[in-house]
Amino acid sequence: MSKILLVEDDEIMPKIVARILPTSEYELDHVSNGKEAFEKLESTNYGYDLIITDIMMPYANGFEILSRVKSQPRPIPVIIVSNAGNEDMIMEGFKLGADDFLKKPIIPAELLIRVKRLLMKNK
């Protein structure tokens, strides 16, 4: 059972992700902005196996989440799922240590594969 945190302010995306990742294998928590994400991370003592995050969100953007997560003693793998088409922005994400980037609209099967791959790598 892998614990995944989804940070996303769109209302539909979480429903989609919840369906793509079977509940039998993944425990998915969803928060809709940067502030809630930090609260969730603090309260669980960064107890997630993977984070899927958007970039542009209220309170704290995806970059801040990445930066904070990657400075932990045990960095959690992060996938950015965003509609950002600006290359600089994507590069910025990777510079901050993002493990993967998926551009919206996503292909469901692809998300599943990437999630699996990252979780395997970090086992």
Binding site: G34, K35, M56, M57, P58, Y59, A60, N61, F63, E64, L66, S67, R68, N83, A84, G85, N86, E87, D88, M89, E92, K95, L96, K104
Partner: protein
């Protein structure tokens, strides 16, 4: 002697009649034009467009300039909220204008800033820049802080920011203003969608923040201000932005882009010398100079407004602070009219010279004087028993109902297009405000304006310039 007085009296009466009539007609016209402008805006602009732009690699870069002077209480949350705006390509430049509190220290600590060797090019002269800071955390790579010697004006601080701005457009705001998350997307669209003209400035509606709910620089719920004075200002802002500015925007005659929030063409703003730090109304002064520059250099330009509210600012809630703000504005207007009077009815300056400037001269600058003289004469006539009371009260009632109508129409346009506020009774509450405006709020404005003109004529030193840059106190949270 008797004859001269009666001739003068007649002339005054007739002038006043024509003056009033034109003013009423202009407002009726603005009501109509603003309706057309807002309708066009709501038809054309869709959520879809904003999303497309947010995800586009072709979105033009924007620099945000936000001067801060002793903003220690709110600086962190406000910078955070700037960092989370929806836009693919922007930088944020905070100008610490020699704060005497811990504004600078807080920024350095919270965002891991370090001083960098920055090749500063003083295209516009300002008070010296001490140091420029960048963050060591790549998450804040869009952020830059300029630490400069206090220039006793917002203008000087923004100019320093303009000197380091990278992008072709900059958005000027106050650190204590709260912006909507789509602000940059909304403001750049009119620039990108303009057909033949070069858009040199874009503004949006401002509102009063006083009773709305905010959480760490994010708007949670909009409410009309509970206190009377800020509520008057909210109504005034709706009328002035949604009805006034939108109407002017429709015929490309916008007189001013508010200092609280505006997007400007960096090249034009820099070339014409940036903000004037000696001005009391630096926002209007800059726009006037930009338009002037455009005319002088044969740039076919446009200034646009959008009806959506994108910025919330704390309105003064005591008469004392309010009086400072309005006195200052009036003084700025007088200064501007005096400095640029050569544009008055000068066909060389197109609409600016033939419409915007004369309108501002007659109906903004002179209005308080006309009203005041009217009241004096009225009192004189009343004392000497020459007033026909039924007729006089009828005229007064007419002006009163007309004023209420115009304001109500402004609220209507605002409501029809955006349905702001959560509850209908909050709107009703707002609708009642104009009934008192005429008797309570308007006389105040007339009085403070006259005081501003007096200060302008006597050249009184500003005693507040520094502490209350925006003319009102600091926000407490």
């Amino acid at each position: 002697m008797e004859g001269i007085i009666s001739v003068l009296g007649k002339a005054y009466e007739n002038t006043l009649f024509v003056y009033g009539l034109i003013l009423l007609l202009v407002y009726a016209l603005l009501a109509l034009l603003s309706m057309l402008a807002i309708r066009y805006y709501t038809r054309k602009n869709t959520q879809h467009q904003l999303e497309t732009l947010a995800s586009s690699p072709m979105a033009p870069g924007i620099t945000i300039l936000a001067p801060a002077f002793n903003e220690g209480l709110t600086i962190i949350s406000n910078v955070r909220s700037l960092l989370t705006l929806n836009y693919p390509r922007y930088e944020i430049i905070i100008i610490n204008d020699g704060s005497t509190d811990n504004t600078m220290e807080q920024l350095v600590e919270e965002f891991k800033m370090v001083a960098v060797d920055f090749a500063y090019n003083a295209r516009i002269l300002t008070q010296p820049v001490r140091k420029i800071y960048k963050s060591t955390d790549p998450a804040y790579s869009a952020l830059m802080v300029i630490d400069k010697v206090n220039g006793k004006s917002k203008a000087d601080a923004v100019n320093a920011g303009m000197n380091v701005a990278t992008f072709d457009y900059f958005v000027c705001t106050d650190v204590d203003c709260i912006l909507h998350k789509n602000t940059l997307l909304e403001l750049i669209l009119p620039v990108m969608q303009e057909e033949k003209k070069r858009v040199i400035a874009v503004g949006a509606t401002l509102r009063i923040a006083n009773s709305s709910d905010f959480d760490e620089g994010v708007l949670i719920r909009m409410r009309p201000p509970r206190q009377l004075l800020p509520r008057f200002q909210e109504v005034e802002y709706i009328r002035s932005f949604v009805l006034g500015k939108m109407g002017w925007s429709y015929i490309n005659c916008v007189p001013n882009v508010s200092g609280g929030l505006g997007l400007f063409d960096t090249e034009v703003a820099t070339r014409c010398g940036g903000y004037d730090h000696s001005s009391f109304g630096e926002d209007m002064e800059l726009l006037t100079r930009m338009c002037r520059y455009a005319h002088d250099n044969e740039i076919s330009y446009a200034v646009r407004y959008i009806p959506r509210t994108l910025c919330w600012t704390e309105g003064p809630s005591t008469v004392k602070i309010f009086s400072r703000q309005r006195t200052r504005w009036a003084r700025g207007l007088a200064q501007l009219m005096y400095a640029h009077f050569s544009m008055f009815l000068n066909p060389r300056y197109g609409k600016m010279g033939m419409i915007v400037f004369p309108f501002n001269f007659f109906f903004e600058l002179l209005a308080p004087l006309v009203e005041f003289s009217g009241i004096l004469i009225y009192i004189y006539l009343a004392v000497t028993g020459q007033v026909n009371w039924p007729y006089a009260s009828m005229l007064l009632l007419f002006v009163y109902t007309y004023a209420v109508m115009i304001t109500t129409i402004a609220i209507l346009w605002d409501q029809l297009s955006f349905r702001y506020y959560k509850k209908w009774w909050e709107v009703a509450y707002l609708c009642l405000t104009p009934f008192m405006e005429f008797l309570l709020y308007h006389p105040l404005i007339v009085f403070f304006s006259l005081r501003g003109y007096y200060y302008f004529l006597t050249g009184k030193k500003s005693t507040w310039g520094n502490m209350q840059r925006q003319g009102f106190g600091k926000k407490k949270k």
